[in-house]
């Protein structure tokens, strides 16, 4: 509906712009043509009345020949020049009786005198097909004619009441125009929207990775066909990706499964050798090193398996209710109960308000997060350290913070986790922390590496209280 309104608005606006542009153009063209016509007509500077007035002003009345009216009126040279300039073909002066008392280039077909009816006719229409202009001059009538093909005379007379109601007519016409314009705009907009609707639905479906099959007809047939084709391609790609992901996950799971039995042997025998009193100090130490490395391989296999599953969403979260403070204490207590070396101390600080909070989450996975980060602190501080775990609540988010009194997470590890490439020859093992981040992300939170006051890095997990 929102998009329909948008389309309608755009349609109306563009139609209005179109109409205005065309109207303005036409008015402009009309003015231009009119101006050109007037200029060509030689009346660019003055009206017809003014021209004849100019000519009339050039007449002089001669004192001689009182008996002969013809001799009494004379036009100056300037007057003749005016007649030429104004494109008149001929001219004559009629007295009160309608007789020609002066003439210039008068065509022979024209009579020498005119009655009232003649004057009335030619002043309004034509004189023997000559369009003429008439000027009253001291009771006389100056009549000047153009060529027969020179001009058209139009005489207008309208009833006054009709002229008075022009504004009303105009408003009705404008109103009807606007209504027609709006109706047409709406209709076209709706048609456009209607034809686009299936295409839009198709694009939405594509965005949601749903297969698309649109009817390929109407104005959007070509577009629909393209969308159908894109959908088919995406579907195929998706299937291939899924197959590849599945294959990779199964391959990793298979390899890790096959490694487990030989590793069990390596671990078992190295343990036996470590505890064998018949062996000397050195071989027992070597056996212990094998045992430790085997444990590391076991951890790596588990991490690799889990990380691939988390990455390809092959590990469903088994959600259950838990209290973050309880989980924290339980995990730390487990470390102590498993015989934590005395060189290490793990302290837990849970803010009072966190005790009440119950969240949804995959508890074994979250416990793994804690064990991963605590285990890292222990592994990277062989001389012992103090590990601090802090739990607080901040505006609907639970914040877990962990840092230790050792050098913290190395900067190159943080860089590797943040996606910055490590330097040449540097191998950074970040799988454990990557898993931590994946698990936290899968729970709707984020894991950050925070520099503490001493400048070393600690970790901070922010999880939403409401999740799932």
């Amino acid at each position: 509906m929102k998009s329909l309104m948008k389309i309608i608005r755009r349609y109306v606006v563009s139609a209005a712009v179109l109409v205005l542009a065309v109207a303005l153009f036409n008015i402009g063209v009309l003015f231009f043509i009119g101006f050109q016509a007037v200029q060509r007509f030689g009346e660019s500077r003055m009206g017809a009345g003014e021209q004849l007035e100019n000519v009339a002003a050039q007449f002089t009345v001669s004192a001689q020949g009182t008996m002969d009216n013809r001799a009494r009126y004379q036009l100056s040279e300037e007057g003749y020049a005016y007649l030429e300039e104004y494109h008149f073909l001929w001219s004559m002066l009629l007295d009160e009786g309608g007789n020609v008392v002066w003439s210039w280039r008068l065509p022979g077909e024209l009579p020498g005198s005119y009655g009232l009816a003649d004057v009335a006719k030619f002043s309004r229409w034509y004189l023997m097909d000559y369009p003429v202009r008439v000027w009253e001059m001291d009771g006389m009538l100056l009549v000047s004619g153009y060529g027969k093909e020179h001009a058209v005379k139009i005489s207008l007379m309208y009833p006054l009441n009709q002229i008075r109601s022009i504004p009303q007519y105009l408003s009705v016409i404008v109103g009807m125009n606007v209504a027609l314009f709006l109706a047409l705009s709406l209709w076209f907009a709706y048609r456009f929207y209607y034809s686009l609707r299936p295409v839009c639905a198709g694009i939405d479906a594509l965005a949601e990775k749903t297969p698309v099959l649109l009817a390929e007809k109407g104005t959007t047939a070509e577009l629909a066909a393209r969308l159908n084709q894109a959908s088919r391609i995406l579907e195929k790609q998706d299937q291939k990706l899924m197959q590849r992901d599945d294959a990779r996950t199964s391959w990793i799971a298979g390899v890790s499964h096959d490694i487990r039995t030989p590793l069990a042997l390596i671990m078992g025998y190295s343990e036996a050798l470590t505890e064998n009193p018949k062996l000397g100090e050195e071989p027992r130490g070597q056996a212990e090193a094998i045992r430790k490395q085997s444990l590391l391989i076991r951890q790596l296999i588990e991490d690799l398996n889990l990380t691939s599953k988390l990455e390809y969403h092959a590990q469903p979260l088994r959600m259950q209710e838990y209290c973050p403070a309880v989980l924290l204490r339980e995990t730390v207590a487990e470390y102590y109960n498993e015989g934590l070396d005395e060189r290490y101390e793990i302290t837990v600080q849970a803010a009072h308000q966190t005790e009440r909070i119950r969240q949804q989450g995959d508890v074994p996975l979250l416990k793994r997060v804690l064990r991963n980060v605590i285990g890292n602190s222990i592994r990277h501080n062989p001389e012992g350290c103090r590990i601090m775990l802090q739990l607080s609540e901040d505006m609907g988010w639970i914040v877990w913070r962990l840092w230790d009194s050792g050098p913290g997470i190395p900067e190159k590890v943080v860089d590797a986790l943040e996606g910055e490439a490590s330097g040449p020859g540097e191998e950074v093992h970040v799988m454990g922390l990557r898993i931590v981040r994946q698990i936290i992300t899968a729970h709707g939170g984020h894991a950050d590496f925070v520099r503490n006051e001493e400048g070393s890095y600690g970790v901070e997990f922010v999880l939403p209280v409401e999740f799932g």
Partner: protein, 240 residues
């Protein structure tokens, strides 16, 4: 009969691994450990020898451990422990769902295997009220230095003095004694005493612990037995 006299049957097709496990169990004191390499052999030995515990691999050459498990359970309620390289949650849940007593994934620590085997055997045959190859007697008296605590009487005897324990104190002490030497979190203790809806009882727990110390410690202000694990919970110290 003691724990180490228990007969254990190991079904695994990897001879080397089976030999190693046999070795581990023997070194830890189990005398009767027998091995089978297939489902058929495993079932035959199960019927013939009537072991007290079976350690079962899942992927066997002539079938899978889950089916063998079902067949064995049809014949006897012997505790069975899965030992497998299959570490998928689904496999683990399936195995435990069938009624297995434990599920260990390969590779494992020798100590872990020994502890789990021992725990399963104790649970099955050596707990009070259990019948089987051995019977364990309940130890009703807990000795903490000069203090003797009787769980059945809910009393503490110290010299000639006898103090009685309240029901809550007894529950707390029992829980700590069950996990002796280990830290029991506030949450686990509160849950043991007040059940699931324990929130808000932490301070009450502290009061009970104080009273308990007055009864079982020589000097309650510097306790020797009931120790505090700061920020976590409490621990009942093992005897030196």
């Amino acid at each position: 009969m003691n724990l180490y006299d228990s007969k254990i049957l190991l079904v695994d097709d990897n001879r080397e691994l089976a030999a190693m496990i046999q070795n581990i169990l023997r070194r830890s004191g189990y005398i009767h450990v027998d091995c089978a390499e297939s489902c058929v052999e495993g079932l035959r030995k199960f019927c013939l020898e009537e072991p007290q515990l079976v350690i079962l691999d899942i992927m066997l050459p002539d079938g899978d451990g889950f089916s063998l498990f079902r067949k064995m359970r049809e014949k006897a309620e012997t505790p069975i422990l899965f030992l497998s390289a299959k570490d998928e949650d689904n496999d683990r849940l399936f195995g435990l769902g069938l009624g297995a007593d434990d599920y260990i994934t390969k590779p494992f620590l020798s100590q872990e295997l020994i502890l789990r085997v021992g725990a399963v055997l104790k649970r099955a045959y050596f707990m009070p009220g259990k019948t089987g190859p051995g019977s364990a007697e309940e130890e009703p008296v807990l000795k903490l230095g000069g203090h003797e605590i009787s769980f059945s009487n809910a009393s503490v005897v110290y010299g000639k003095k006898t103090l009685s324990l309240t029901a809550k104190e007894l529950q707390i002490l029992k829980k700590l004694n069950e996990n002796r030497g280990k830290i029991v979190t506030f949450d686990a203790l509160c849950m043991a005493v007040w059940g699931d809806a324990y929130y808000g009882y932490e301070n009450t727990l502290m009061v009970h612990i104080r009273h308990l110390r007055e009864k079982i410690e020589d000097d309650p202000s510097s306790p020797k037995w009931l120790l505090t694990a700061r920020g976590l919970g409490y621990r009942l110290k093992k005897e030196d």
